[in-house]
């Protein structure tokens, strides 16, 4: 059953250097209890999608399309309703856990904050719930950790604090925006375990935004590949790693260390001067004449969806 449906989402930024089309005609669904990975290079619009769902984009963003959450269009509801939706229904985790926390407040108070904002709850209850969460996330001495400040903890510990915050109100969806960016391999392993724990106790859907294919493989049920603001492929994770459809997906997979570490040739296009037609055509080994003229539609093939004329 789908819990989040995104239809024809377009996000455009007006900047001094011109208009930036960050997301074009994106449509996808997130099902209950599903982990969906949104994968692409830096700057392809993944995080913009996350922030659009949470309605956290800056003023200069122009958004069109629909985002249905349990039947409500998140782009149309009032600010007050959106405030209630955030954290209670949809929680987000940003890529830098230490910068996400306010340096002047104890981590315990930051974990219990959503409880006070959204629910009428006594201090004692909030404290108990917080220490319980800290314990589940692997803090040995929760009541002592409650009193700590973010600067006294390592980045990995702060990541667990952030995960605890996202769990305080049992949201239906957790969006994780690049949770492993800039972390070493050991910490990535920890995070994989932590997300599995989260999934076990919360039973929510996870929208995992990452550039890390191995993390996506480890955690996700389905995978979406984005290239320069376009969704180019949506498919089951398993079949993606066996048989990627889009030429870009193939090149991306070949860049994995276990497949020879072959980086894609050429650069991803600038966000201001985007190529006409399929945005990948300048780098594509299979390019045809039509590719540089018209953006291909999405074709369905064996349960997967791909935006490429090869599958016409």
């Amino acid at each position: 059953m789908e819990i989040l449906e995104i239809q024809d989402l377009n996000v455009k930024f007006t900047t001094p250097i011109g208009e930036v089309y960050a997301v074009n005609n994106a449509s996808f669904t997130l099902n209950t209890n599903e982990t969906l990975a949104l994968v692409g290079e830096t700057g392809c619009g993944k995080s913009v999608i996350a922030n659009t769902i949470m309605r956290l984009l800056p003023q200069n963003a122009e958004i069109s399309g629909n985002i249905f959450y349990k039947g409500n269009n998140l782009l149309k509801i009032s600010d007050r309703e959106m405030e209630k939706t955030r954290q209670q229904e949809i929680a987000i985790i940003f890529q830098n856990p230490t910068l996400s926390l306010n340096p002047l407040y104890k981590i315990g108070d930051q974990i219990s904050e959503p409880l006070f904002v959204h629910k009428k709850i006594s201090k004692k209850e909030a404290f108990n719930k917080t220490t319980k969460l800290l314990k589940t996330m692997g803090f040995q001495n929760p009541s002592k950790s409650y009193e700590m400040y973010p600067h006294q903890l390592s980045g990995g510990m702060n990541q667990r604090v952030i995960l605890s915050i996202s769990l305080t109100l049992n949201p239906s969806i957790i969006i994780a925006d690049e949770p492993t960016k800039g972390l070493d391999n050991e910490l990535v392993k920890d995070i994989v375990e932590e997300f599995k724990t989260v999934n076990k106790i919360n039973n929510s859907s996870l929208l995992l935004i990452t550039h890390d294919l191995s993390l996506a493989r480890e955690l996700s049920d389905r995978i979406i590949i984005m290239y320069s603001g376009d969704i180019v492929e949506i498919t089951k994770t398993e079949s993606f790693f066996k048989n990627p459809l889009h030429p870009y997906s193939k090149i991306l997979l070949n860049s994995l260390p276990e497949r020879g570490f072959n980086p894609p040739k050429g650069n991803s296009p600038s966000m201001v001067n985007i190529p006409k037609g399929c945005k990948f055509h300048p780098r594509c080994p299979h390019k045809k004449k039509i590719c540089s003229e018209k953006i291909p539609p999405i074709y369905s093939i064996d349960g997967g969806n791909v935006r490429c004329y090869l599958f016409q």
């Binding site: 830098n96 002047l104 904050e113 904002v117 915050i165």
Partner: protein, 315 residues
């Protein structure tokens, strides 16, 4: 809350150096130190000068004088003013209360007003009404206080006759005090508010782009809650430093306002002492101002440690 011995040592050294300088300067100046300690508008015969020299201990050797000087400091004895005809410490104390009455309400009001308006304006920095407010505050900030005082005096006292033109020298009833203090306090508040507003606005604009602010919003806090629960505390740190400086400047800073409203405060005392070269009063005021500045800094240091745990951890 730990009280750090390092910090106490640092402040004690600062005070020690200041007090010692206060001893050295009049003795280093060219000429007889007695003229420097008496003031230049006081003339007496050579015999009475010698008598006075003995009385003040100036015929002793320097180390003995230095010890005597510290003895005086601890007994709160800063010498005798021949110009004002009284002990320096009691002159300063009687003048200080007027300055405190002017400045404490002004500093408090302006801290509250400036930080509130500044933070609201910083959060909605692109709104036109706040842009207009910023322009007004900028105008107040760049107007010298004496000019503002003269305009206020002209309009409210001279034209409208609402407030007295001159200050008062005796304490009347509470109503009388308020009546006299209304204009000077208003001007001081307007001036300090404009400065606090500018600082707070800038600080909030800087803070609000940080990730923890976005994350607070993502937790479901409303804009108001994000501002007052998260940004405000972090953004108020620079303002706190300025407030400490205000308390340091408490005794001299309101000079222009005190002169224009003919108030018998510290500013006017220093002004008169300067004109008549009354060095003992100047040294005494200098010491009081230094003590105030050091104490205010120590107090803010302490507050900083409470507000920002990163600071108390790093010492």
């Amino acid at each position: 809350m730990k009280i750090h011995s390092k910090k106490i040592a640092r402040y004690s050294i600062a005070l020690f150096v200041i007090f010692s300088l206060n001893f050295i300067i009049p003795r280093l100046m060219p000429g007889d130190p007695i003229t420097n300690l008496l003031g230049e508008d006081y003339v007496m015969t050579e015999e009475s000068l010698q008598e006075l020299r003995e009385k003040m201990g100036l015929d002793e050797s320097l180390p003995i004088q230095y010890l005597n000087y510290w003895n005086g400091v601890f007994r709160f004895d800063f010498g005798y003013s021949y110009h004002f005809k009284g002990p320096v410490s009691s002159i300063i104390l009687s003048r200080m209360k007027w300055t405190l009455m002017l400045l404490i309400p002004s500093i408090l009001f302006s801290a509250i007003l400036g930080s509130l308006m500044g933070s609201l304006s910083g959060q909605k920095s692109s709104s036109n009404s706040f842009k207009a407010l910023t322009l007004i505050e900028l105008a107040f900030y760049s107007t010298p206080t004496f000019f503002l005082s003269l305009i206020f005096l002209y309009i409210f006292s001279f034209k409208l006759g609402l407030f007295p033109i001159k200050g008062f020298y005796y304490s009347g009833g509470i109503f009388d005090i308020l009546h006299h203090f209304f204009l000077p306090i208003s001007i001081m508040t307007i001036f300090l508010t404009s400065r606090n507003y500018m600082i707070m606005r800038g600080s909030v604009i800087q803070e609000k782009s940080k990730l923890y602010v976005v994350y607070a919003k993502a937790k479901g806090l409303s804009d108001r809650q994000v501002l007052f629960k998260h940004i405000f505390k972090n953004a108020s740190l620079p303002l706190l430093t300025l407030l400490a400086l205000d308390f340091g400047f408490i005794l001299s800073g309101a000079l222009f306002i005190e002169i224009i409203f003919s108030m018998n405060g510290m500013g006017n005392l220093i002004y008169e002492a300067l004109l008549s070269r009354d060095y003992p009063v100047l040294y005494g005021s200098f010491m009081i101002i230094s003590i105030m500045a050091v104490l205010a800094n120590a107090f803010v240091d302490f507050l900083y440690g409470i507000i920002d745990p990163r600071i108390s951890d790093s010492i």
